[in-house]
């Protein structure tokens, strides 16, 4: 798994490539935390993530709480059907905005 953070107009974009499991989740968490420290507006691009276990859900929970406490906003991008099913089963899906492309996420985040 690889994580990169880029900044575009005060929006931090966290792009993940690869599987998020209990081996790789700490690296995802470290970067996601860094992003929430840089910006209140975050896009997490999961287009290139095929697999995410509950270790990844824990990181999303952390991001949600950090962003909420700063009155910010987080948008998830390109979440696979399998991962959306898991988010739905666990009730996580109701708390996140999910869009198909990074451009859509940037448009929404810039509006706020």
């Amino acid at each position: 798994m690889k994580v990169t953070i880029t900044e575009q107009d005060e929006i931090a974009v966290v792009e993940v490539t690869g599987d998020i499991d209990s081996k790789t989740a700490p690296e995802f968490e470290r970067n996601a935390k860094l992003a929430t420290e840089k910006s209140q507006k975050i896009a997490i691009d999961l287009t290139n993530v095929e697999f995410m276990s509950s270790a990844g859900l824990r990181v999303l929970l952390m991001v949600f709480r950090n962003i909420k406490s700063q009155n910010g906003k987080v948008i998830l991008v390109g979440v696979s059907e399998d991962i959306q099913d898991v988010m739905s089963t666990t009730g996580f899906i109701n708390f996140f905005t999910i869009v198909g492309t990074l451009d859509e996420a940037l448009v929404i985040l810039k509006q706020d």
């Binding site: 599987d19 081996k23 276990s53 399998d82 099913d85 898991v86 009730g91 996580f92």
Partner: protein, 142 residues
């Protein structure tokens, strides 16, 4: 006849474990969605074995995947030599917990919830000094 494959008890094994579960699912003719659910279930239980059964206890050991494919089902057993641990003995999140806002909910038990939810049958036994976590996936008739 059960097939058996062993993996070193550390998180580096999770990748190849999921790949192996994918191969078995393909051999069994499992569809894409149940294949993902099984990979997730096995990953969650293996993670518990590795992090708590082995690492936290300072135990350096392998775990094994036993499997059997029939016309009707794929049976997979994770076998480890850690101290007895029944994942079903823990309190699982209930329907109300899962509707709680993310600010107020605890995160414990989510992995085991996903495991039970994702497979057709899940059971646990401790026998001959080994934990045996068993997963069964029914194969849809085509």
């Amino acid at each position: 006849m059960m097939e058996s494959k062993s993996f070193p008890g550390n998180v580096d094994s999770l990748d190849s474990l999921r790949e192996y579960v994918g191969e078995l699912s393909q051999q069994a003719g499992l569809a894409k969605k149940p294949t993902y659910s099984l990979k997730l279930a096995v990953d969650e239980i293996a993670t518990n074995i590795i992090l708590y059964g082995y690492q936290e206890a300072g135990l350096n050991a392998d775990f094994a995947v036993l499997s059997e494919i029939t016309d009707k089902e794929l049976v997979l057993i994770l076998e480890d030599v850690a101290a007895p641990f029944d994942p079903l003995a823990k309190d699982l999140p209930n329907a109300k917990d899962l509707t709680l806002s993310l600010e107020e909910r605890g995160i414990g038990g989510l992995g085991i919830f996903l495991t039970i939810n994702g497979v057709d049958e899940f059971s646990y036994e401790y026998a001959d000094g080994k934990n045996r976590n068993k997963f069964v996936m029914k194969i849809a008739a085509t």
